[in-house]
Amino acid sequence: MSARHVGSNESSVALIGNPNTGKSSLFNALCGTSARVGNYPGVTVEQKVGKLVGSEQPIEIIDLPGTYSLAARSADEAVTIDVLCGAQQGVTRPNAIVVIVDATNLERNLYLLSQIIELELPVLVVFNMWDRVQEEGHKIDISALSTRIGLPIVCTSASKREGIDQVRQAIIAMTTGGIKALASDKTARSSFPTAFLNESESLAALLKTKGIETPRIEVDRMLIDKDGHFQTIAAKAGGPEIVQEIEQARTRLESSGCKIPLFETKHRYGWVRQQISGLVERPPANRVNSSDKIDRWLTHRWIGMAFFVLLMFLIFQSITLIAKWPMGWIEFSQGWTQGIIEQWIAPGALRSLLSDGVIAGIGSVLIFLPQIAILFLFIAILEDCGYMSRAAFVVDKMMSTIGLSGRSFLPLMSSFACAVPGIMATRTIESVKDRMVTILIAPLMSCSARLPVYILLVSAFVPDTTYLGGWLSLQGAVLFAMHCVGALVAIPTAWFLRKFFFPGAASTFLMELHSYKWPSWFVLFQRVRERVVAFVSRAGTLIFCTSILVWAAGYFPGDHQALEQAQSKLESLTASGDAADTQAIDGATASINAARQKLIDESFLGMAGKTIEPLVKPLGWDWKIGVAAIASFPAREVIIATLGTIYSLGSEEDESSDSLKDQMKAERWPDGRPVYSLATALSIMVFFALCAQCSATLMTIKRETNSWRWPLFSFVYMTALAYIGAWLTFTIATWLGMGS
């Protein structure tokens, strides 16, 4: 009997493929809800791990970042090859690999496979998008191809959940030893020039004398990729002597007619052609298919650009229109819950905490769940149908005038949903300077956390006028304009950063354009679910805590005895239902209102607020808005929770069940003018469009740039922009007569 650890025989399988081959769909289908997302220790690359559903033995599936090749140039690609070679700390080397391939684009996709099979691990090949192979009329002889390559092939349509069971069975077979690694004489490397194989051999030997044990594939990459990831590693471990030896080896190879890096790609594509020759027949390349017909319009000189702007505009229009109903329901249940609490709990600190702190705080944020879900649904549809890469294609020239590339476009576009995944998506940008500029301007994109702030203010203070028979609303137009503010400010900002902080040559773009397809319901559902869960859990934790803190600051240190006595008196009066007591009721209400107002003015919150009021007055704000803006440092949408709590604490008794919107409209300066004019509302919105009030974003910048300097820089420059922007907005709007 052996004394093995119980978990030590757990198998792990890596999932790898080119970008956009349906890898995430396959991963989700294989692992269900068991997926965990984290970071690889020591590096800022996302690690996605799940358990294979339906396997008796626990099998771990590692979803690696999408890549075209094992030649590592970006942080993502370096981790991919490190994990596959077992060189990534904290991750045991996988026992087997699943290579997912876009079967409609075999030649380019099999290039990666030709590199993977040299890792000497069992490999399963998944031909995904099989539905489109059949639709488009490709002819692939799977069994002959599988025999020729020497690897099992399974066909799937992952987005429709077809063929998943066969993949599962094959993975189980692979981990129980049913599939062996490919013999090395069947790989593309076996046809490499002898000169190269010898150089690789002697470099490995040299590294060994220095005590550096390197897998063969990494030695190959050191030789082939000039200034690549592995050359840097070799330099770190073996010093300049190794780098010199590598450079000399390259010169020797060059003179013997083995051109680097040309020979590798040549041999690999040669290997691919050999495998597929006679077994794969694709429809004529230059045939105009339906995707091309759509493209002719969507990337047209004028129409393409107009379509892009119109599409974005329509999305924000529909968010305001569609979300009206579910918002009403949530608002109603919030008021209902507050009513229940007031019925069951006697006046006092607990009642105030629950009703004014928790419910008013969280409820006012949760109201915006429908908008968030709708926004993410639209983004997921655009991504999944293939339009996003077209949008990058259309705007690339504009990006290049400010020194960025279309590669920065996708991270920036996803920052419209949330800057955190947006900043993480910058890892795919090869140029470090481009990446830094993109990281620094990504938080200017109007994320979904700003949406609640805009919606609240727009619906309360922008006239509900519609044009064109109700199809075009002024509120929707203002909402769209607010989303443009950040993007417009980002243009000169990016130009400035690129010019003065990160000067250097223009970067490359080089992007694959996939043909259009119908989005898959599974994918859409998965994306929206992920974001909704994240939003709700944020409301339940971060916003919950801030709400309680703000409530406490607004509740203490005042003496609440007078208020509570008045409340009890009022409640007993109303309960008795005696109409003759109207006068007494009015008296009690008046004393409650006076007490509430006095208490919040004299609370910690009130004291702090009065101190900063001179600072925010030029923006058209009173101290309550100022405090709420500062308290929203953890996350922008917290301002709503904070305002909800502040106004609920200080609200007039007969309005306590009113919505936040109505409470805001009722707010008055001491001289009786309403606090909120259209100018004030616009000034708040512009402030939130430009400010960096989001601790998660700043932490992400810290993690991605590995320094406190850049999050600090972001916070300072964005807050300055926000203050100036809000002041300008208020001043101009007041001048235009929106100040009252």
Partner: protein, 82 residues
């Protein structure tokens, strides 16, 4: 050859034209990226269309579509197909 007697580059082709790749110039990471995407000597490549502002350009090769900026397609020497 183009009109100035220099080798013809991919960036000089107009939408609808087809060519055969002769060479990718250079050995830096851009060159190897282009080659990895399948742009190798002897491969036919077709210009599909330009983006609204004239750059980048969409190409078809090996049965898929790729978008290249002018500074990238400048690196690819080609011979025009009739």
């Amino acid at each position: 050859m183009n009109s100035r007697g220099n080798p013809l580059t991919l960036s000089e082709l107009s939408p609808g034209q087809s060519a055969i790749v002769d060479e990718v110039v250079g050995d830096d990471s851009l060159a190897s990226r282009l080659m990895e995407m399948g742009i190798l000597d002897g491969e036919p490549i077709e210009v599909i269309g330009r983006a609204p502002m004239g750059d980048p350009t969409e190409y078809a090769l090996r049965g898929y579509r790729i978008s290249l900026r002018r500074n990238e397609s400048d690196r690819v020497l080609v011979s025009l197909l009739p």
